[in-house]
Point group: C2
Chain length 422, copies 2
C-alpha cells in the first residue's frame, strides 16, 4: 500500500512574523498520525495572493490531500475564499444551509443582530462541497482537482479541530484506507543524546526498516520515539512490544516512563495509584508547578493546593520561615526550602510537598548566589530531602527547567519510597 501524501498549508501574515505560533499544524499532525496517516510537508504563507497560489500549486502537484487553514474570517485581510474560487473555477454563490446556520448562531447563541459581513460568510465557490462547521460561522470547503482533494478550514483552533474530527477524518478514511502506524515512547533522564545513542547502538542497528527510532532531547531528558508501520496492526504491535521491551531492560536505570506524557502526568499517576496527595510551596516558579500539576483532567485526585510565596513576607507569614533564617542563610538555601516544604505539607494537609526557591534572572543574582541557582525540597511524613540546581539559560527556560527537574526529583523520591515499602 502506498502511503497517502498529505500537505498542510497555513495562511496568515501573523504566522510569518511570529505574532502567533502555529499550533494548528501540530494538532492536525497529531490527529492524522493517530489515525494512521503521515503529514509529509507543511507550508506557511502570508495573506498574499501569489504566495497562496504558488503553495497550492506546489502541494497539489504531489499530494493526495491538501489541508488549508486560515484566511476565512469576515474581515478585509482574509483573501483565501475569493482566491479558492478563482483557483478551482466557478462563481461565488450563496449557500442556503450555511446561511441558515450563521443566522441561527447570531439569533440563538450570540444574541446579536447579524450584519451584511456575517451574511457573506455563507457565500462559497460553486465548485466546492461545504463541510459543516458546527462550532462557528465560517464553513469548511472541499474541492477536487486532478485526483487531489483540497479542504479549506477556518484558522480558529476550536473550529478547525471540530471540522477535522467531524468532516475531514471520515472522508480521509473512506477515500484513503491507511496502513497501521504505531508509536512507542521511552523517556530517559540523566544521560545526554550522544551517550544514549552510543549505549543503544546495537539495539538500533537491529531494527528492521519499517521500525524507526528518533531522539527528542528536551530539558535534560531524552525522549526516544519508536515508530513502526505495517499492514497488520496486531502483528506490528507484537513486534514493537518485543523491541521496546528489550530497550526497557537496557535502559532500566535511566528510564522515567514508557508513556508519551509530560512528567507531571507520570507523577500524578504514581501518586494516584497509591492514594497519595501533593502540594507545592513555590517562590521563583510563581505557581508554575501547581499549574502543571492541575492542568490535566482528574488532577484533583492527587493535587490539593499551593502556597506561592513570591515575596519573603509571604514565606514568613504563610510558610512560617523564621525571619532570622531569611536574614542569615537567605531565601535561596537548603534550610529555607526545607522549612517551606515541611510547613506547606502541614498547611495543605498533603502526603508530599514540593518546595522551590531560586534566582531565575535576568536580575537578582549576586556573586555568592548567581542567576540560575535554585534549591528544591521534598517533604514527606518522615523526612525532607533537598537538592541544588545550577542553570545557565534565560528566565523562561530556567523556569521550565526548574519545574521539570523538581517534578523529576519528586518522582524519584516517590518511586524509591514505594520500592522500599513494596
Amino acid at each position: 500500500m502506498l502511503a497517502t501524501r498529505i500537505s498542510i498549508i497555513t495562511i496568515g501574515d501573523e504566522l510569518l512574523i511570529g505574532q502567533v505560533i502555529d499550533t494548528n499544524s501540530a494538532w492536525i499532525g497529531q490527529r492524522l498520525n493517530q489515525a494512521g496517516y503521515e503529514v509529509r510537508r507543511r507550508m506557511a504563507v502570508g495573506d498574499q495572493w501569489d504566495d497562496i497560489w504558488q503553495a497550492l500549486d506546489i502541494c497539489g502537484s504531489d499530494s493526495d490531500l491538501v489541508i488549508i487553514t486560515g484566511g476565512l474570517g469576515p474581515t478585509a485581510d482574509d483573501i483565501t475564499k475569493p482566491l479558492l474560487s478563482r483557483y478551482f473555477g466557478g462563481e461565488m454563490v450563496m449557500n442556503a444551509s450555511v446561511l441558515e446556520h450563521v443566522t441561527q448562531i447570531f439569533e440563538k447563541k450570540l444574541k446579536r443582530p447579524m450584519i451584511e459581513r456575517n451574511r457573506l460568510q455563507a457565500m462559497v465557490p460553486e465548485t466546492c462541497t461545504v463541510l459543516h462547521n458546527s462550532r462557528g460561522t465560517a464553513p469548511g470547503m472541499l474541492f477536487e482537482k486532478e485526483k487531489t482533494i483540497y479542504v479549506s478550514l477556518p484558522g480558529v483552533p476550536f473550529e478547525m479541530k471540530g471540522l477535522i474530527d467531524d468532516e475531514v477524518l471520515p472522508i480521509l478514511k473512506e477515500r484513503f484506507p491507511s496502513e497501521a502506524i504505531i508509536h512507542r515512547t521511552i523517556v530517559t533522564a540523566g544521560v545526554g543524546e550522544s551517550f544514549l545513542a552510543e549505549r543503544i547502538q546495537d539495539w538500533e542497528a537491529s531494527l528492521p526498516t519499517h521500525i524507526k527510532l528518533a531522539y527528542l532531547p528536551h530539558h535534560g531528558m531524552v525522549r526516544l520515539r519508536i515508530t513502526g508501520r505495517g499492514k497488520e496492526e496486531t502483528a506490528l504491535s507484537l513486534e514493537l512490544d518485543e523491541k521496546v521491551n528489550a530497550l526497557k531492560v537496557a535502559l532500566a536505570d535511566i528510564m522515567v516512563t514508557d508513556r508519551d506524557e509530560p512528567i507531571e502526568v507520570t507523577v500524578g499517576r504514581l501518586l494516584q495509584t497509591s492514594n497519595l496527595t501533593v502540594g507545592t510551596a513555590e517562590s521563583c516558579t510563581g505557581g508554575y508547578i501547581a499549574h502543571l500539576l492541575s492542568k490535566h483532567p482528574g488532577s484533583s485526585k492527587f493535587f490539593k493546593g499551593s502556597i506561592v510565596s513570591y515575596h519573603n513576607a509571604v514565606k514568613e507569614s504563610l510558610l512560617h520561615v523564621p525571619h532570622d533564617t531569611l536574614i542569615s542563610v537567605g531565601a535561596v538555601s537548603a534550610e529555607t526550602v526545607a522549612i517551606m516544604a515541611r510547613n506547606a505539607r502541614e498547611q495543605l494537609g498533603t502526603d508530599y510537598a514540593l518546595a522551590v526557591s531560586g534566582i531565575l534572572g535576568p536580575d537578582g543574582g549576586t556573586e555568592e548566589k548567581p542567576v540560575g541557582m535554585v534549591w528544591m525540597a521534598v517533604a514527606d511524613a518522615d523526612q525532607v530531602h533537598t537538592h541544588e540546581l545550577r542553570l545557565h539559560y534565560d528566565r523562561v527556560r530556567n523556569m521550565e527547567q526548574t519545574a521539570l527537574q523538581a517534578l523529576h526529583y519528586l518522582r524519584r523520591l516517590i518511586s524509591k519510597r514505594q520500592k522500599n515499602q513494596g
Copy 2:
C-alpha cells in the same frame, strides 16, 4: 528597494507528527521582522532525504536567504549534514576550530569524556563557511549557490537563537540592507471581529497601500495590528502615529492597551505605576494566573504571592471560607470567591487580590452548576467585586479564557479606581 525574500525550512519528523510545536519559526519570524525583514514562506519536512532536497529546490529558486533549522544532532536520524554536503558539493572535512570548541565544551562545561560521535560534530562540508555556535556543539553552516544564501542551524532553540542574533542577522544586514517595517498594535475587548471591522471601515479604507491592517481575534479580545513599510523610518513612524491616534480615539471605549503585550503585562504596568501590589486565590485555575503574573521579569515589584486552594479543605484552612458557606452555596459561588479574595488580600498583604473558582471540565458539572461556570472576585481595601462567566470550550481553553478574563476584569477595576482618584 525590493524586499528581501526569505524562506525558513524546519526539518524533523517530530514537527510533522505534532510531537513538538514549531516555536523556532515563530521566533525567527519575530526577530527578522524587528530587524526590518519579512519571512515570505515557511516549510516543514520530515527526516526524509527527497523531501528535504525538494524543499531546498523550492525555496532556493525564489529566495535571497533560506534558513534551515534542525537535523544537525549527533544521532542517526539526523541526515541534514550529509545531505547539505551532497547538495552543495564537496567533501566532508574536519574543521579544526569547531573541534577545539566541542572539545572545550566537554572538558570544561560538561566535564565528561568526549566520544567519537561528538568529535564528528566538527565534520562539515568543505563548501560551507562555519558559523560559530557559542552555545552548543553543532556548528552553524553557510552556503552560497546561484545568488541565494543558505544557513543551516541546529534545532535546539537556545542554540538556534544565539546563532540568529550573533551570526545570521549581521550577515543579513550587510548583504541586504532593509527598508523600515513598523508595527503598531491596539488590543480591544468586548466587540467581535466583524462588528469591529464595520465600525472602523472608513478608517481602514483611508489607509495608503504601504500601511496594512490585520485582525487577530484571541480569547474574546481582538488585536489590531497596523503595519507600515517605507524607506524613511522617522517619516513612516510619524505617519503611523497619525493613523493610529485616530483609531485610538475611535475605539477609546473598548481599547485595552496600545502595546503588543499579554494582558498580564498591562496589568503589571498599571499596578507598578501606582506602586500597588496584587496576589491571587485560585481554585480551578490551579496557579495559572499566578504563573502568568510572575513569568515576566520584574514581576516581584507588584506580585506578592498566591494561595492555590484546589481542594475545599484548603479553602477552609488557609482562606477561611466557612464550612457552612461551602455546604450551602458551594465553592463555585459569588459568596465563596468574595471571601477568598478578601482573605487572600489580608493573608498575602496586597492592595488587590483576585480570586477564581469554577468548573472547567471535562467532569464535575451538575445541572445547577454546569461545566464552564466560573465565579471571580477582586478585593481592594474598600470593597469586593464579583463577576460570573459561562464558558463553552474544552478544559484547556476554559482555563486560558478564565485567566485572561479575570486579568481583564482586574485591569478594568484598577483603571476605574485610578480614574476616580485622578
